[in-house]
């Protein structure tokens, strides 16, 4: 049947391919493709799978360090964490599906990123979710928040991987395009990491997991197409996840990988069987022959097109050592999962598929997978925003009132409503729960831990994508440092609008440059990532959102700190320079309705110096609690520490402070707030001076109120109400 469909220009366009791209296909094949082949090229050359708009710029990321075992290019990045172990991690977006069907979209996003990690032989140990929603007042927002959070919890809780952190912010720019970015971290023996390289001509290609249905056919092209009013019609492309099957798949795959049966393994993610087989063959420099009649199917009468392009969840493709089929089959039978030998590795360099006695696909894998088009799209670098120059008007609002309003604003209110729907404790290794800076999961059976965080400040990126990209990396570095971890590497998810518009392309280019500069200066390479473009609805793009996921190592959990102190009478030390930068601050936005100015500059040398200092003090046991300063500045940081501690604090304003609120709420970078025992202040000051790190004593802990200079004391109860009330009240409607 398939071979008989005439390939018209309309059909080519419907597949999201340009006329030039189609001409290229004709050239590669030396003939017209049939419909199945057209579908294969379309998904493999979609933005989502081919990175055709971002590839040339992504090459700027620094990706190596002595501890990097595997950088970008595989299913996930791999770094050495000592003791013969490796951390395997990656972040991925599921933005469009989550906008259409928030529960299943978010749930299958979790499923997909889990597979990227256990496919490399790592047991997933933590999940994080970075979420961007539209204006809380937008009629769809509440429904989206509730569905996305339930979906992430529904999947993560069931597979039994703790969701330990993330981010959630709201901005009207996401009204028509929410962002759901999920990060997964796993741990594997460093010498037993598995790669997706099909090798060994004659080795069997094996399908395991759930059966193939008509789910999400053309999901990958959907994820790359700009939303328009017709997206309603694309609805059936939503997949339904089955976390129970995923859990079985994790256990079965890890059990199999502990044997020596596996040559290569790859999850079937976007573009399912097509991308997994093409990529495995392309990476291995081999070919693959598939018998589509052997693929386990959920529905009758599925065509070759549907089988090749289905995005049914919870499936994996393996290359086994010849003769190990039965050993592998027994493991999958034990876990009640489908197992089928569906092909073999060849030396032809081609992907060949047969169905119903006919050859339905015969394409060269290198061209499909490697030689996809690359676009050096024109870009315009954005003009830098003019700095905002605050005047005495910002001090007209009392500090206590400003703080309460900020703490109760959508972007700063407590995320308890979200994270209590996530099982953040399963696996019994979560030693820093959500609510602080970085989450920390213990490396099972040891006294060491992985520190994890996701960060990005889209309002900074909108005003200046280069500084914003730099800041996102720096903030993640600080969050890891604040618990005492040594930052090792990042993953990322670049969420932008339509790259065919030079202004958007400029944001992408500038953000990548800013991130790269920060990664280089901080010795903090990029080991994996994902790009999500075309996040636009009817010409309105999201804020540029280069989401960063950071991973660090805590060498001694007895020396880890959190944001809570447990004693009165501790001294509060502010590390870093405070000029009172209000441009792009939450203070301006929430209290004056101003989204104005340039973002705070990022001094990477200072970031590194201050972080080394703070980490050193924590390792020396000199710090009782630590918090990095970010959204809302000093006042918000100290308030969050008070809330976590259940105790009050007093902040003394320095004598010549200038604008009080700028000092309290400014978002200058490279800063930390430390709570330390009084008798160690001298030692800390000596260390700071020696390291050239600015540090001032600004207050102490005690009582049951927070007192900001001469403002009215805010009782802890009032503070807590302001912080906790917004989310549940909003969600109740």
């Amino acid at each position: 049947m398939n071979g008989e469909v005439r390939i018209t220009p309309e059909l080519v366009a419907e597949h999201g391919l340009t006329a030039e791209e189609y001409a290229r296909i004709l050239e590669i094949l030396g003939r017209e493709p049939n419909l199945v082949e057209l579908g294969i090229f379309a998904v493999m050359w979609s933005e989502h799978c081919s990175y055709k708009s971002s590839k040339t710029h992504l090459a700027k990321f620094p990706t190596t360090a002595p501890w990097v075992i595997c950088g970008p290019g595989e299913n996930a990045g791999v770094v050495d964490i000592g003791d013969g172990l490796a951390a395997v991690f990656k972040m991925e977006s599921h933005n469009h599906p989550s906008f259409i069907e928030p529960y299943q979209g978010a749930a299958t996003g979790v499923g997909g990123i889990l597979r990227d990690v256990f496919t490399m032989g790592a047991r997933p140990v933590a999940l994080l979710d970075a979420l961007r929603f539209g204006d809380p007042a937008h009629p769809r927002t509440r429904w989206l928040v509730s569905g996305v959070v339930a979906g992430i919890g529904g999947y993560g809780n069931c597979v039994g991987v703790p969701t330990v952190g993330g981010e959630t912010t709201f901005h009207r720019a996401y009204d028509g395009n929410i962002l759901v970015n999920v990060m997964c971290v796993g741990i594997a023996p460093a010498d037993r990491v598995f790669y997706a390289r099909a090798a060994g001509v004659g080795n069997p290609v094996v399908y395991v997991g759930a059966k193939t249905g008509r789910d999400g056919i053309h999901g990958a092209t959907m994820a790359s197409a700009e939303f328009d009013e017709r997206s309603e019609e694309k609805r059936p492309t939503v997949q339904v996840g089955d976390p129970f099957t995923e859990k079985l798949l994790i256990e079965a795959c890890l059990e199999l990988m502990a044997s020596d049966c596996v040559v290569a393994i790859q999850d079937m993610g976007a573009a399912g069987l097509t991308s997994s087989s093409c990529e495995m063959a392309a990476r291995g420099g081999t070919g693959i022959e598939l018998d589509l009649d052997a693929v386990p199917l959920r529905e009758e009468g599925m065509t070759a097109y549907e089988i090749m392009l289905s995005e049914s969840q919870e499936r994996m493709l393996l290359v086994l050592r010849e003769g190990r089929e039965d050993q592998a089959r027994r493991i999958f039978a034990k876990w009640d999962l489908d197992f089928a030998v569906i092909g073999k590795v060849t030396g032809s360099g081609r992907l060949v598929a047969r169905h119903g006695g006919r050859t339905v696909v015969d394409v060269p894998v290198a061209a499909v997978s490697g030689a996809s088009p690359v676009y050096d799209r024109p870009f315009e670098l954005p003009a830098p925003a003019a700095p905002y120059d605050p005047d005495e008007r910002v001090d007209r609002i009392a500090a206590d009132e400003a703080l309460l309003r900020l703490l109760g604003s959508p972007d700063l209110a407590s995320r308890r409503w979200i994270y209590e729907q996530y099982d953040y404790m399963v696996m019994a290794d979560t030693v820093q729960r959500p609510g602080g800076d970085a989450a920390v999961v213990r490396i099972h059976g040891s006294n060491r831990g992985l520190a994890l965080t996701t960060d990005c400040t889209p309002r900074y990126c909108a005003a200046d994508p280069r500084t914003g990209g730099c800041q996102a990396v720096a903030e993640s570095y600080r969050n890891l440092t604040a618990v005492g971890a040594r930052p090792l590497a990042i993953t990322n998810c670049l969420n932008f609008g339509n790259p065919e518009r030079p202004a958007i392309m400029g944001q992408l280019v500038a953000a990548i440059e800013g991130m790269s500069e920060a990664c280089r200066a901080l010795d903090y390479p990029v080991v994996s990532g994902n790009v999500s473009l075309y996040n636009e609805t009817m010409g309105r793009a999201i804020l540029p959102t280069p989401q960063v996921g950071g991973l660090g190592l805590v060498e001694d959990l007895d020396r880890m700190v959190g944001i809570a102190w447990s004693e009165e009478g501790l001294r509060l030390l502010l590390v870093g320079d405070t000029v009172g930068w209000l441009g792009c601050s939450l203070f301006l936005r929430e209290l004056f309705g101003l989204e104005a100015g340039a973002p705070p500059p990022v001094d990477l040398a200072a970031e590194r110096r201050h972080a080394d200092f703070v980490r050193g003090c924590i390792a020396a046991g000199l710090v009782r609690a630590c918090h990095d300063l970010s959204d809302g500045g000093l006042a918000v940081a100290v308030a969050e520490m008070c809330l976590a501690s259940g105790g009050g604090a007093r902040i003394h304003l320095p004598p010549r402070v200038g604008l009080r609120n700028a000092w309290l709420f400014g978002e200058d970078q490279a800063r930390y707030l430390l709570a330390v025992a009084p008798h160690t202040v001298g030692e800390l000051a000596r260390r700071a001076a020696a390291a050239g790190v600015p540090m001032v004593e600004i207050g102490d802990t005690g009582g049951d109120a927070l007192i900001l200079g001469d403002a009215r004391p805010i009782s802890l109860a009032v503070l807590r109400r302001a912080h906790e009330a917004w989310f549940p009240r909003y969600m109740e409607g």
């Binding site: 299943q104 339904v240 529905e299």
Partner: protein
């Protein structure tokens, strides 16, 4: 008046729960079960006695809240 809404998955949508039930029945020895499907019923007691109006209202409720059109279809039936 009682209105009944019967909601089921669209054809082709994966229903892992139905599959789990089928397997559990098989493992209990019920070899006769060829397939399992699920549906859910929401029963509404309405104040109105105008059938046309009731039907219109209930359909609207389905579209707005009760059913998820992306993956589900529904049928409305009115009792008395």
């Amino acid at each position: 008046m009682i209105a009944q809404v019967r909601i089921r998955y669209r054809p082709g949508v994966l229903d892992p729960e139905a599959r789990a039930i089928a397997r559990a029945l098989a493992s209990l020895g019920y070899r006769d079960v060829r397939s399992v499907a699920r549906a859910k019923i929401i029963e509404l007691e309405l104040a109105t006695s105008d059938r046309a109006e009731a039907e219109r209202q209930v359909r609207e409720m389905c579209d707005r809240l009760l059913a998820n059109p992306v993956i589900e279809t529904y049928e409305v039936s009115l009792g008395d």
